[in-house]
C-alpha cells in the first residue's frame, strides 16, 4: 500500500514556501516510496570523485580513514565494500552515469569520458563533452545519453517523481545543467531570456575585469536542479519549467523542475530558511553562504564542490522537504579551491598533492568536519539512518604518479610527507609515433591514460592503417622521468570487437573509437598541437615526454588500483556488516539495489543486480529472501558480464595478443571473439531477465534455470580464460 508523505519538521516550512510562491499548501506531493514497512523516507546519494578507501601509501591513513565521521557512520551503521568496481573506461562521467542508471556505457551512450570523439560522415573527428544535461543532444547530433534504440536513456529521477517524490541534484552528472549555453538552450530554448543573458555574459571579452561577469551564468545555472513530483509545491511557482523527458518510456507529462541556483535557492530557502541567509542564499555546513570565487552566491565553481558546500546544499534541500537528494563531492588530493591568479583574475594553476602532504591532510580534515556537521544537522531534522537510505561511493580511484615521500616513514598525521616529484607523465603520442615508428597516420585521441584512438577516415579494424597504427602504438617506449627506466606505454590494446565485449560500443556507430590503449597508468597521453610541436619529431622542443606538476592522480585505465573503488550503504534494510569485501560488485549494482530498497521499479532492465548479500531479508521482496539461486546466478553473472569481471579481464589479454599477431591470427580472433560476445550477451541477457524479474516482479528463480545458466556462464568464463592463456585454437 502506498503511504502518504510525512513532511515531519519540514511541513510548516513547506507551507510557507507554497504561500510564498502563490501556490496552494494543499497541493503537497505525497512521496510514495514503498520500502519494506515504509521505513525509508529519504534517500541521500553521495558521489565522491576519487576519494580512496585504500591507502596510497601504507604509512598514511587513507582518505576515508582520515574522515572518521563518514567512515564510522557507514561501518558502524551499515556496510562498506572495498570490492566494488568501475566500468570501462574508468572515468568520472562514465562512472557516475553508470551509477545513476545501473547500465553500462554501451546502453546509456557514454562509455568514454569525460569527453569522447565521433566520426563525421567525411571521416573527420569531432569531440563532445560527456557532461551535458540529460536530454541534450551531443555534438554528433544524437542524444547524449543514447540508448540501444537511439532514444535518450530513461532519467534516474523519473521513478521517484512519478511516485510523488521530489529529487534534488547537486553537481551530479547530467541531472542538472553541465554546459553553457548548450544546456540553457536545450531546456529554456534558443533565444529565451535565459539564453540571451547567458550568451551575452559568455561573449564578454576574456579580461580580468570581466571574469566575475563571465563566471556569473555558471554560478547561476550550472550544477543544481530540483526535479519535482507532479503537484509539488516546490515547483508551483514562476521559477519552475516543464521537466521535459520526451523519450521517457510511458510518457512523462505534467512534471516541472527548477534549474540552477537562481531558481532553486529562492524556493528551498523559502521552505527551509534555516539553511540560508536572510537574502535567500544557501549556506555551507559552516554557515557561510556558498559563493563562486568572486563572491556571487550560487554554484561555487566548475564542478569541484567541497564537502561543506555540497553537504550544506544537500541538507537544505532535505530540510525543504526534498526526500531524494543526489550530491557530488570533489576529491581532496588536488588544491581546492584554487586561489585566483591576480594577473588573470581566474583560478590559478592546478596543484596536486602526494599522500600525506600537509595541505592534503588539512583538506581531508575539513571534509571530516563537514560530514560531522552534516550528520548532526540531519539528526536534528529527524533525518537519520532509521528513516533514510544513504548510498555513498567514489566514481573511480586513481594511480598516484610521483616520487617517494620524504621522510620515508612519514604518515601524514604526526609526520607530514613532502615530495620533490609529483605529477603524471605527459606524452605526445603523435610525435612519439613519428619519431620512433615513422608513422604519420592522422588520428585524434581522447587524452587519458587509456586513450581512445579515432583514426581519420574511420578505417575498419582489419584495414592496414588500423593494424599498423595499433602495432606501432604497442611498440612505443619512453624513459620514465621519475624512475629513469625505459617503459612501454601500452598494456592492453582493445579493438572494436573487444570494446564491444567491454560494453564500450554504443548504438551510435559514429562514437565507436578505432581502438583503445589501456596504458601504463603513470602516463597521461595526448596528441600535440601547433603550440606543442605538432609535426615535429622528439628531438625538437617541447619534450615528447615530461612530468606535468598540476595533475598527479591518473584514472580511466584498467588497473586494479584505479578500477577497484568502494561503496557504502546505511539505512533501513541494510545489514550492519561494517567493512565487508566478500562480494564483487560494480557501479551498475547500486541503482537496482537503491530502487529495490525503495520499492520502486525502473522502466528498463538493469545491467546490475540487487546486492542482497548486504540487505536484510525483511527489506526484500519474497522472491529474493533466502534465494541461493539468485545469489549463485548473480555471482557468476558479474564474472561473466562486468568489464572488470573474469571474462572482461581475460578477454583483454586475448585481444591484446591477437591484435599484435599476424593478420590470419587476428582474423581468427575476430571470429572467435564475436562468437564469445554473442554467446555472452545471450546468456547475460537471460540472467539479467531473471535477476530483474526476481527483484522487481517477485518471480523467484527456479533451480533448473539457475543450474542451467550457471553452467552456461561458467563455460564462457572458462573458454575466455583458456583463450587468455593462449589456447587460441578454440573449437567451442
Amino acid at each position: 500500500m502506498r503511504h502518504k508523505r510525512i513532511f515531519g519538521v519540514a511541513t510548516p516550512l513547506l507551507v510557507g514556501a507554497a504561500l510564498l510562491a502563490g501556490g496552494s499548501a494543499t497541493a503537497q506531493a505525497a512521496c510514495g516510496l514503498q520500502s519494506a514497512e515504509n521505513r525509508i523516507k529519504h534517500i541521500v546519494h553521495i558521489q565522491f570523485d576519487n576519494l580512496h578507501l585504500r591507502r596510497d601509501n601504507p604509512n598514511v591513513p587513507s582518505d576515508l580513514e582520515q574522515m572518521p565521521n563518514l567512515l564510522n557512520f557507514m561501518q558502524n551503521n551499515g556496510t562498506v565494500s572495498g570490492n566494488h568496481h568501475t566500468p570501462l573506461i574508468s572515468h568520472t562521467a562514465t562512472d557516475i552515469l553508470t551509477v545513476l542508471t545501473g547500465v553500462y556505457g554501451d546502453r546509456m551512450g557514454v562509455p568514454v569520458a569525460n569527453s569522447y570523439g565521433f566520426f563525421r560522415n567525411d571521416g573527420s573527428v569531432g569531440f563532445s563533452s560527456s557532461f551535458l544535461y540529460w536530454t541534450a543532444l551531443s555534438a554528433d547530433g544524437a542524444p547524449e545519453l543514447v540508448n540501444e534504440n537511439g532514444k535518450t536513456f530513461p532519467a534516474p529521477w523519473a521513478p521517484f517523481t512519478r511516485a510523488g517524490c521530489d529529487v534534488g541534484a547537486y553537481s551530479i552528472a547530467n541531472m542538472e545543467f553541465e554546459s553553457l549555453p548548450a544546456d540553457v538552450r536545450t531546456v529554456f530554448g534558443v533565444g529565451s531570456p535565459e539564453d540571451v543573458s547567458v550568451t551575452a555574459a559568455l561573449a564578454l571579452p576574456r579580461t580580468p575585469a570581466n571574469a566575475p561577469a563571465r563566471q556569473a551564468p555558471n554560478t547561476d545555472y550550472l550544477g543544481i536542479a530540483l526535479h519535482c513530483a507532479a503537484g509539488s509545491p516546490l515547483c508551483n511557482n514562476g521559477h519552475a519549467r516543464t521537466d521535459a523527458l520526451p523519450d521517457e518510456p510511458g510518457g512523462y507529462t505534467g512534471f516541472k523542475a527548477l534549474f540552477g541556483n537562481v531558481n532553486v535557492s529562492p524556493v528551498i530557502c523559502g521552505a527551509a530558511p534555516g539553511g540560508c541567509d536572510g537574502s535567500g542564499n544557501v549556506k555551507d555546513t559552516d554557515g557561510a553562504v556558498i559563493t563562486d570565487a568572486y563572491g556571487r552566491p550560487g554554484f561555487p565553481n566548475i564542478f569541484s564542490p567541497t564537502a561543506k558546500q555540497s553537504l550544506g546544499y544537500a541538507a537544505t534541500m532535505l530540510e525543504a522537504g526534498v526526500p531524494i537528494v543526489y550530491v557530488y563531492v570533489a576529491d581532496t588530493h588536488d588544491r581546492n579551491p584554487l586561489p585566483l591568479d591576480p594577473s588573470t583574475n581566474l583560478p590559478g594553476a592546478a596543484h596536486a598533492f602526494g599522500p600525506g602532504e600537509a595541505e592534503y591532510v588539512a583538506q581531508l580534515k575539513a571534509y571530516d568536519v563537514a560530514f560531522g556537521k552534516f550528520f548532526a544537522r540531519l539528526a536534528t531534522d529527524g533525518i537519520t539512518k532509521d528513516n533514510t537510505l544513504f548510498i555513498v561511493t567514489a566514481d573511480e580511484n586513481d594511480h598516484f604518479v610521483g616520487g617517494t615521500p620524504s621522510p620515508a616513514n612519514c604518515n601524514g598525521i604526526t609526520l607530514p610527507c613532502s615530495y620533490t616529484q609529483v605529477g603524471e607523465i605527459d606524452t605526445f603520442l603523435d610525435r612519439l609515433l613519428l619519431t620512433q615508428r615513422g608513422n604519420t597516420t592522422p588520428f585524434d585521441i581522447h587524452s587519458d591514460d587509456a586513450p581512445t584512438f579515432y583514426i581519420h577516415g574511420n578505417p575498419g579494424p582489419t584495414d592496414p592503417l588500423t593494424r599498423t597504427l595499433e602495432k606501432d602504438v604497442d611498440a612505443l617506449q619512453v624513459t620514465n622521468p621519475i624512475t629513469n627506466k625505459l617503459e612501454k606505454l601500452n598494456v592492453f590494446l582493445a579493438d572494436r570487437s573487444e570494446m564491444a565485449l567491454l560494453h564500450m560500443i554504443t548504438s551510435r556507430a559514429d562514437r565507436s573509437p578505432s581502438f583503445t590503449m589501456f596504458g601504463d597508468p603513470d602516463y597521461f597521453n595526448q596528441n600535440s598541437t601547433a603550440s606543442t610541436g605538432a609535426g615535429k619529431d622528439c628531438s625538437q622542443p617541447p619534450a615528447c615526454v615530461a612530468e606535468g606538476p598540476g595533475f598527479a592522480w591518473n584514472h580511466g585505465d584498467v588497473q586494479k588500483e584505479i578500477t577497484r573503488t568502494w561503496m557504502g550503504m546505511v539505512g533501513p534494510g541494510v545489514r550492519h556488516f561494517g567493512r565487508d569485501d566478500r562480494v564483487f560488485s560494480d557501479h551498475t549494482d547500486l541503482r537496482p539495489t537503491m530502487i529495490a530498497l525503495a520499492g520502486l521499479k525502473d522502466d528498463y532492465q538493469h545491467d546490475g543486480r540487487v546486492l542482497i548479500e548486504f540487505l536484510h531479508d525483511s527489506a526484500l521482496p519474497r522472491s529474493l529472501r533466502g534465494s541461493e539461486n539468485f545469489l549463485e546466478l548473480a555471482e557468476v553473472y558479474k564474472q561473466l558480464n562486468a568489464p572488470l569481471g573474469s571474462v572482461g579481464l581475460n578477454s583483454l589479454v586475448y585481444a591484446n595478443r591477437s591484435i599484435l599477431s599476424d593478420d590470419a591470427s587476428y582474423g581468427q580472433f575476430l571470429v572467435t571473439l564475436a562468437d564469445v560476445t554473442s554467446e555472452r550477451d545471450a546468456v547475460a541477457g537471460e540472467i539479467k531477465s531473471l535477476l530483474d524479474a526476481a527483484a522487481f516482479d517477485n518471480q523467484r528463480i527456479g533451480e533448473h534455470d539457475e543450474d542451467s545458466l550457471v553452467h552456461r556462464a561458467h563455460a564462457i568464463i572458462d573458454r575466455v580464460e583458456d583463450l587468455a592463456r593462449g589456447h587460441d585454437h578454440d573449437h567451442h
Binding site: F131, L137, A350, I445, Q526, F551
Partner: protein
Amino acid sequence: MGRQLNINCEPAGGAGGLRGYSILMAAMALICLMAVPAGAQVWVSGRPDAVRVEANNVSLEEVLTSLQTKFNLRYRASGTLERSITGSYDGSLRYVAIRLLAGYDFVLKIEPDGMEALIWRQSRPDDKPLVVKALPASDNPAGPIVRAPVMTAAEATRNERSQFR
C-alpha cells in the same frame, strides 16, 4: 561499422501523412533505386524535435522529399524547386524547414499530425518573403533544439582539465 545511406529510404514516420502523395513517394522510391550521382547527397536523421539534414549539392525538392518521407513534412509548390542545397541543418522540423525555404514565399502550417508547406515562388534578390507564417509547434515551443558544441581533441582536453573531474 556501417554508415547510414546517403539517400534516406526509410519509411516515413507517420503513415497517415503519405496519403495523397503517392507520386512523390514513387519518385522517392525511384531515387532510392537509382545510383546516387557522385557528390549529390542528402542525409536526414533525428526526430521531429531534433532534425538533422546534411545536404550536398541536391535540389530543394529532393531535401523536402526526404523530410516528407521521414517526418511527414508535406509540401505543395507552384513550380519546380531546383535551388541547390548544400549544408547542415539542425533543429526542430519547423526550424529546419524555415531555413531551407529561406528565399521562397511560403506558408508553413503546423498540424497535429505533421506539417505542410505551401510554396509559391522564389523571392527575387531584393524581395522580402511574401508570406512567412509558422504557427508555434506544440511539442517544442521554445524553438530549435541545439546540439552541444563540437570540440577539437585539444579543446576537449582543456575542457576536462579545467574541471578536475
